[in-house]
């Protein structure tokens, strides 16, 4: 299980490659990457606030919940905070399982849960 909360930008491909190459028995790896959208070209920056003392605990709980519901071999959650600009990756989840279905369902579940239970707040500045 790999939980990262960081203000630094990240490269989704580097994260996926490291995650995939450490799998020994997985047959399926699913990743989700969330990007900053600029709907009408007016967004200058997005600021993501979080609750540091709670964030890591909440993400670990979300990851644990997923591993209890699906036969996962590995889970990664990465979420940025601070200032972001359009098209930058905001966050990423990755799941590894023997089978496709578990990897897909768990990644979708992590995203649902993370949106409603992890203490992050986006604020857009135009």
């Amino acid at each position: 299980m790999d939980i990262r909360i960081q203000s630094a930008p990240f490269e989704p491909g580097e994260v996926l490659s490291a995650f995939t190459s450490r799998q020994q028995r997985a047959g399926a790896v699913v990743s989700f990457t969330g990007l900053v959208r600029d709907l009408d070209g007016s967004l200058e920056t997005m600021e993501i606030e979080h609750y540091p003392a709670m964030t890591e605990r909440a993400l670990a709980k979300i990851a644990k919940e997923a591993t209890e519901r699906w036969p996962l071999l590995d889970v990664l959650i990465l979420h940025r905070h601070g200032a972001l600009t359009p098209s930058e990756p905001i966050m990423m989840v990755a799941t590894a399982s023997a089978h496709r279905k578990a990897a897909f369902e768990a990644a979708d579940f992590l995203m649902d849960y993370l949106k409603s239970r992890a203490p992050f707040w986006k604020k857009e500045t135009t």
């Binding site: 969330g34 709670m54 992890a118 707040w121």
Partner: protein
């Protein structure tokens, strides 16, 4: 008892600070909110609509009628928008 009270996102912006120590006899977050609203001004504005808020006690999401006994930190914030 003394509790650290934290505010995030627009709750923090309306109240004007992110954290304060509060001396209170409240036994639930709802009672604590009633006390804070009693201060008027920014607090009344921030807590006008509790249905738009979420609460965490000691970094765990909880309900507004949860017990505050032994709580060291209570946080109020709008619905989360991560992901």
């Amino acid at each position: 008892m003394k509790i650290d009270v934290l505010y995030f996102a627009w709750v923090r912006e309306r109240i004007g600070i992110g954290r304060e120590a509060v001396e209170t006899e409240a036994t639930t977050p709802s009672e604590l909110i009633a006390e804070l609203r009693g201060r008027g001004g920014h607090y009344e504005a921030a807590f006008a609509d509790v249905t738009a808020l979420r609460v965490a006690i000691d970094q765990e999401l909880t309900e507004f009628d949860a017990t505050l006994s032994d709580a060291r930190e209570v946080a109020f914030f709008p619905p989360m928008t991560g992901g």
